[in-house]
């Protein structure tokens, strides 16, 4: 009995954590370039809606995913234009993106509520999937979860071992230095903000095409916001992001496990856990003054201008 609980919780952690992971990784890249994009919730919703509707209309899952990714990028480019070129308040612009995403997805998604569409099935990896205990949990998942596994080391390698990654980190931490060395700060910020949007779109697509294959208004239920918090928790590092995302995933499915072993905590109280945990995590991360040492993008949220005469 207990083994089932652990297995189901771990499985749930990986599944529920995957959208969080994608959104967090994308936002890490964007914030590393110095752009704060709070619109994750809106981009994820549009990603979820786009993914589901395209899957419903065409029956082609990969087309749906690509469409969702592109839509996420499109929304992010709006925020990028506002924040980088027009240099508006990035906090408010991100919020506007959330409103837009919620509104458009709810509006256009109205007709898709209750519909069924193609969704991702689990694929078992040979050999690895047969490892006792761990195998079925980790290696018998849908392909997007596997993409999550791969994304982390790839992004880690990119960030710390490549020239492009070094340039990215320089732009976020000292845009003046990067500019003086000839790196195009504006272009860098545009690219990674849009890339962040791609990831958010992907995260949303996962939710409506794999996690809970359906469309419901506001189905991301605040996960975009949790991802924003996870970026701080991860200290902008992809590996810590992985730990955080799956941990949060685990907490959000904990309620199901509790129900099975009949822990008498009401559902709605358990629903609060991820959000309370996020607050707790922020308390911890904020009191750590290690941000400077670890090269957090200190130019985060501040528009860059070469000619600004102070």
């Amino acid at each position: 009995m207990n083994q089932d609980i652990i297995t189901s919780t771990l499985s749930g952690a990986l599944r529920a954590g995957t959208p969080l992971l994608f959104a967090t990784l994308g936002e890490i890249l964007a914030e590393r370039s110095g752009v704060l994009n709070l619109g994750l919730e809106g981009m994820m919703l549009m990603g979820a809606f786009t993914g589901f509707s395209i899957s419903y209309i065409t029956g082609n899952l990969w087309l749906a995913v690509i469409a969702a990714v592109l839509v996420g990028g499109l929304m992010a480019s709006l925020h990028a234009f506002m924040s980088i070129t027009l240099r508006v308040n990035q906090v408010v612009s991100g919020l506007a993106l959330v409103f837009l995403g919620e509104g458009l997805s709810g509006f256009w998604g109205h007709g898709f509520v209750g519909m069924q569409a193609e969704s991702f099935n689990n694929i078992k990896i040979p050999f690895l999937g047969d490892i006792p205990y761990l195998g079925p949990i980790v290696f018998d998942r849908d392909i997007l979860v596997y993409m999550g596994y791969i994304a982390v080391p790839v992004i880690w390698w990119f960030l710390y071992k490549t020239t492009a990654g070094m340039n990215l980190r320089a732009v976020g931490e000292s845009p003046d230095a990067a500019d003086a060395r000839g790196i195009n700060v504006v272009l860098t910020r545009y690219i990674y903000t849009v890339v962040g949007g791609f990831f958010s779109g992907l995260a949303g697509a996962y939710i409506s095409l794999a996690y809970t294959p359906m469309w419901v208004q506001n189905m991301t239920a605040g996960r975009g916001w949790i991802a924003v918090a996870l970026v701080i928790f991860a200290i902008w590092d992809p590996v810590i992001a992985l730990i955080g995302a799956y941990a949060f995933g685990g907490i959000s499915v904990l309620q199901f496990s509790f129900q099975i072993i009949q822990v008498p905590i009401p559902v709605n109280i358990m629903n609060m856990f991820p959000y309370l945990f996020t607050i707790f995590v922020m308390l911890f991360a904020s009191s750590n003054k290690i941000k400077k040492r670890f090269g957090a993008p200190s130019a985060l949220g501040i528009p860059y201008s070469r000619e600004e005469k102070t």
């Binding site: 509104g103 916001w225 918090a229 609060m272 309370l276 607050i279």
Partner: protein
Amino acid sequence: MKIRFEKRDKKPSKLLIFLASLLSILIALVFLGFIILSLGDNPLTAYWQLVSWGLGTVPGLIQSLVSMMPLLFTSLGVLIAFKMKLWNIGAEGQFQMGAFAATWGALYLFPHLTNPWLLIPLLMILGMAAGAFWGFLPGVMRAYLGVNEILSTLMLNYVAIYWVNYLTYGPWKGPHSYNFPVTAQFPQSAIFPQYGVGGLNLGIFISIGMAFFVLYLVRYTKFGFHLNIAGDNLRVGEYAGINVKRMIILVMVIGGAISGLGGMAEMSGVLFRLQPNFSPGYGYTAVIIAWLARLDPIATIIVSFFFGVLLVGSQQLQLFMQIPSSLVNAFNGILLFSLLASEILLHYKIKWMRA
């Protein structure tokens, strides 16, 4: 081709600011029109539906005022914090907690108190206290630990919503909840005086009064003076001897209290019972209202009314044209973007340069 921004060396006039806001609304309406077209509906008919009921008919006007009330309360709550560049996105949660506290008082704490002159002020205090507490938490976290208030208030929003859900689905589930859980109805002594049957209630006037109070607070008191200083430059506030930590907490507490009062007013004035998801996101719309009103408390009254009309209108849209009410959210998003862009144009000249 490069775009260069040159700071204007004159402050934009009030007229210009007003025109910029108007222009933003028009641009947003145009985009809205395109979205409506995408569903195959006629945008002009939609525009008309959106405003004709709320502005053109008496019952519609009253409904607009009723919708204005929670918007006005939450916008005022958010406005004070914004003046100090504290991004209080938690009006929604503070609003919900105020409603919760009012319900608690009316149904469980003071069920035998039949004198409305005693009960209603008591409920108001409860509502404000609950909202204040919900603002106090992120305020303290920000003041002493530097925790980003955007995230903390947002997380608390979800906690508050689930708290209300828990109560209404669970221990407070009333006798008449069949398909949809609601608490028992408020006793008569807990209900705001009503004027006619359209929903016009005392709460609406209290909200307008609150706007004037906030105006006084922000313009004619030491608190307001310090608020403006700290809002312009926190460090200079410290330099001037202002206890910045205390200011942060105070601002969040006052803002929370006002939103909490709004939640109480929604209970005592309009709904008379607590139910899950009773707020269509008032606290979030409040952010846009405060921004559109340029953080001016009196302008907030007008803008809240305008959004009240829109809210009522969106229900009409849903009823008569089957256009989902989430359209208003999209509208809000586009409006906010246009406002942001217009804000930049007000303060900077754009120069196009050949690279």
